[in-house]
Every structure is written in C-alpha cells, then in structure tokens.
C-alpha cells in the first residue's frame, strides 16, 4: 500500500485505485507475551481455539487464570482508549469453563481467577450492566483482580507488570491488539498500525481512502457490530462522494453482543454509555442463547453474511422495547 493510490498484492501485482476501502482488521499479538507460545492458550481464531480445547480436555483440576492483555493506543489517533479492547471473550471463557468444570466434577478442585488490565472489568459497558453481571460472577465463585497487566506466562504462573504473580495450571489470555503490518508500513496509519478517520470513515488526509472495522483507530471496542455500523456509514459517505446524493449517516456506535455462559444460559448486552449514551441493558437467559444460535447458524451457512434486513428490523424493534 502506498500514498500513490496503488495497492500491491502478495503475489506482487499492483492495482491502481480511485477509491480504497480498508477493512484489514486487527492482529492479535500473541508474540508480545513471553511464554504464551509454550504455556498460554487463547480462543479467537481457528488455530488457537482447538489448541485451547485440547488443553481444557487434559486439565484435571488446579488453578486457572484468564484475562486480557493491555493494548497500547496512539495518543493522537485513538480517542477512547480501552485497556482491553473487548473482554467479551473473557466473559464467555470464564462462564463456559465454570460450566464445563461442574459438568466434569472438576470445579471443586479448581480455582478460576480473572485479571483485567483496567480498573473496571467489562470497561466498554456501563454501571447498570456491571450490576447485573457481578452477581453472576460471584455466584460462580470466579475471582476478579484489577489493574493487572500481564507481562509473562510461565509453566505454573502468570506474571504482571507490578511484580505480582498468580499460580496457574491453565492460562487463557486475549493478547494485545495491534494493527496489520501492511498499515504500519504504508505511512497512512499510526505507530501501532491503526488508521484515524473522520466520522464519515474517511482518512483525514487521503480523502479517497475509507477505513472500517478493527483497523480504524476509533473502532472501540473492537467489535463486529461496530464494524458493520462503520461499514454503513462509509457506504453512505461513498455514495454521497460519487453521486452527490443522499446524506452521510451519523456514526452512532453501540456495544451489542451476546455472551454465552454455558448450557442454555447467555447474556445479551446492549450499551452506548461508552459513547455518552444512556442505554445500558442486559437480557439474561435461554432466549439470548437461542438468538445467538440463530445468528451463528445463519452466518455459518451463508459463509459469513449478516441476517437479512427484515430480521435486523425485528431486532431493532425488540431492542427498542427494552430501552
């Protein structure tokens, strides 16, 4: 990628462009945690997830430590700086692992400790949601420790920047996020490989470049739902640019996800407090689990498509009833 309106593909071929949409995602920087390769496990891709599943099946009781690493953001390009850009997977791992251990009569001979790099666990949602989720965590006998920035994993322990450590027989982490190398090298992003845009998803200098999804410096938290909102904004912005018609959609981000919690349990989360809004709600129970399944099934069979517009309309209507 260069500022010459040209992209170079891996096979060496070059393509000139009039407009460029970058949706290159973020990279999970496993190598940033010494000892991860030997003693750490993770969940967010199809190499790490089966590797973790094998480790869980071999686990016969002991101390489990779960948490997200701290991600660094560029002061100038990222406005909202979450220490962990999304702790949803941490929530899913801890609850589902608790469920699994109980099913396998291992829970009583195991501890689950969750560390978070920030002062607040699930920092991307607001106090009403925290109040709903905290009792669930306590009920499952999961201990949460705060302001712990992971710096090293050893065979029997996890070490933090403040010099403390936790004993651990099974360490499950979300590594720090970084932007893709291609962006770092392109000169159009920040030091970490993320790209700042204006609110219409356009690069402030190279106006013919649009950036959506995790590689956008202000996609925060790093969440599929926010990527799709950005895509809609970018599309409206692009249509206005080339046709002169329509209006650029206002970018109104919100956190929306469903966290599976083992068995039939799940928690739907909808919140915009991180962006100054007042919506901060959960829906607990098997219904949320069914909804996540419906989404997964559709996405699986259509190879990654989002549910059709009429279903998104239903969802919006339903969520409005909550609000």
């Amino acid at each position: 990628m260069s500022v010459k309106s040209r992209v170079t593909l891996k096979n060496g071929s070059r393509i000139n462009y009039d407009y460029l949409v970058i949706a290159a995602g973020a990279v999970k920087d496993y190598a940033a945690i010494p000892g991860f390769r030997e003693y750490g496990y993770s969940v967010c891709d199809d190499y790490q997830a089966p590797r973790m599943w094998e480790a869980i099946q071999n686990f016969k009781g002991g101390n489990i430590v779960i948490g997200a690493a701290k991600t660094r953001w560029d002061e100038k390009s990222t406005d909202i700086k979450l220490d962990a850009p999304c702790e949803g997977p941490i929530g899913e791992i801890m609850f589902m692992l608790d469920f699994y251990l109980r099913e396998h009569d291992l829970r009583e001979i195991s501890t689950i400790t969750v560390f978070t790099p920030g002062k607040i666990f699930f920092d991307d949602v607001g106090p009403k949601i925290h109040k709903k989720i905290e009792p669930l965590i306590v009920k499952k006998d999961i201990k949460v420790v705060y302001e712990k920035v992971i710096c090293r994993i050893e065979m029997k322990s996890v070490h933090f920047e403040d010099g403390t450590e936790l004993p651990s027989d099974l360490t499950l982490v979300i590594p720090p996020y970084t932007g893709p190398d291609v962006i770092k090298e392109s000169g159009i992003g920040d030091q970490y490989g993320f790209i700042r845009t204006d609110k219409s998803m356009r690069h402030p200098v190279y106006k013919n470049i649009f950036v959506v999804g995790d590689c956008n410096a202000n996609s925060m938290p790093k969440l599929g739902h926010i990527a799709t909102i950005q895509a809609d904004v970018a599309a409206s912005s692009f249509i206005k640019e080339i046709t002169g018609e329509g209006e650029v959609m206002e970018f109104k981000p919100e956190v929306f996800c469903i966290m599976n919690r083992g068995g039939s349990e799940a928690t739907l989360i909808l919140s915009d407090t991180l962006f100054g809004g007042k919506v901060d709600i959960t829906l607990n129970g098997p219904l949320a689990h069914i909804m996540k399944w419906g989404f997964d099934v559709y996405s699986y069979y259509t190879r990654g498509k989002l549910p059709p517009e009429f279903i998104q309309n239903s969802l919006e209507k339903m969520l409005k009833e909550f609000k």
Copy 2:
C-alpha cells in the same frame, strides 16, 4: 401396502418388513371444493403458494375471503374432531395480507372476511389465547364469520352449506384434509385414510406397524410439532419392543407454533388446553418473528432438520419461564 407385512413401491418392487413406520402425511383435498381450481387459491405447498402470490400481486382492491374447509373424521378412529385441523395458516394469511395491502395502499378499498367451519376460530387453542388474538383481529379490521362450511367457489363469490354466500374477488382457502390413497386402499386405516394407534403409536391390530404424523388419526391438530412428539414416542416404543429396555414415553401433545403477522410482528402460541392441560399462552412481537426466522433458516440450510438438542433445551427452559 398390505397386511402381509409387505409394501409395494411405485416402481412395482416389493419389500417385506418386520416392522413398519408409516409417516405418510395427509393430503390437502383441493378437488373437494368445486370451483377451487378456477377461482380458489391456497398456500400450503410449493405449487399453490407461488400461484397465490401471483394472484395477490394482480389484486387491485376488492373483497377478500379467507378460510378453512371442514374436514370429516371417522367417528371411531379420531377422538378429538376439529372442524378445521389447523387454522394457523389462515391466521398468517389474513394478517400478512392485511400488512401487504396497507403497504400497497390497497387496504382502504378492500375488505377481509375470514370464515371458520366451527363455532370458535383457532379452535385448537384455549380462551386465554383467543382473548389475546381477538383484539389484533379487530384492530386490523378483519371480520370473522362462524359455522360457515364452504361448498363452492365462483368467480365473484364463495358459497356455504347453509345456503349463504360472500362476495369475493380473491378467495384463499385451506381445503379439507384426507388421508393418503395408499392407506385407504391398504385396509389398515379408516374410511378417510387415517390410522388409529394406541398411545405408543402402534397399530391396535398390526402391532408391528407404527404411525406418526398427520396420517395418524389422533394427530390433532395436524401440526409438525405434534408429529415430532409422536416420532419420539414411537421411537421409545420401538426401542422397548426390540431391546426390552427403556420405557415408552408418555404422549403429551401440545400446540406450539409461531404465526407471522407481517413486517416484524409474529405471535408465538403454546397451548395444551385441547388435551385437558392448563397451558395457554402467547408471546407477541418481533422476538417471536426472530425465533421463527431462526427455525426457518436452520431447516432450510439443513434440508429439513430440527434445531439441535441444546437449542430445543433452551427453548423448553424459556417456555417454562412463561408457564
């Protein structure tokens, strides 16, 4: 099919059996309504549905008449005798058509009249559900007429056995149900081609024959959900027969369906009052619509499979919260 423990296939080949499971369904007897072929439309198969859709698209306003024909049941083989074995599709047609006409600015120049052969519309569910659905029908300006047994469709009218008629520019009906010819000819069913079984889904005389689904004389209403319950009972009964192990599941039928009502609206119905129970509930709104979509998507992509057991467990848990 014969009582000689042998079935004959359409291609003439014969197969002897030790055990036979009959799941031949019911037949919608369109020919039983004179004038249907010329002036009537219906919805329950992939020939009738597109034909009806074309008629709806050509409709430019006028009188619409919708209803189910009366089905005859054998006194001795069918215990619960519903005049219309399932009016769910009638509910879907009338609400979705109302929605469609409003979208196309045709509602004000059209009337929708629904006839039912019995004294009660949606006779397979109880008074609590009727109370919830009636206001929706009134709100949509849909008129319901009772004890009207259709006997003829003409170009501009629908005629009933009591000598009355309704003016109609578009007539949409569910025809009477009958059993398949193969059962009528086999000698193991009743005069209408339905087969009575005991509560373990076994033929009372030919104990090596199991019957599940619409062709079972006591599958009432004729509903996919009840067919799957019967299949579970038949399977447990068959397992006990050949292994001597396990127990025959108790047959506990219930009416469970989701009726789309146009746009994001839908109504989930769960009721067992027809079978002497006390459950009689609805869930209205976009959530029910999302649930039906999830079911449809899964069934479509898996070519007819039911959602996996863990999702059925979630559903059961959710429905228990209702009850």
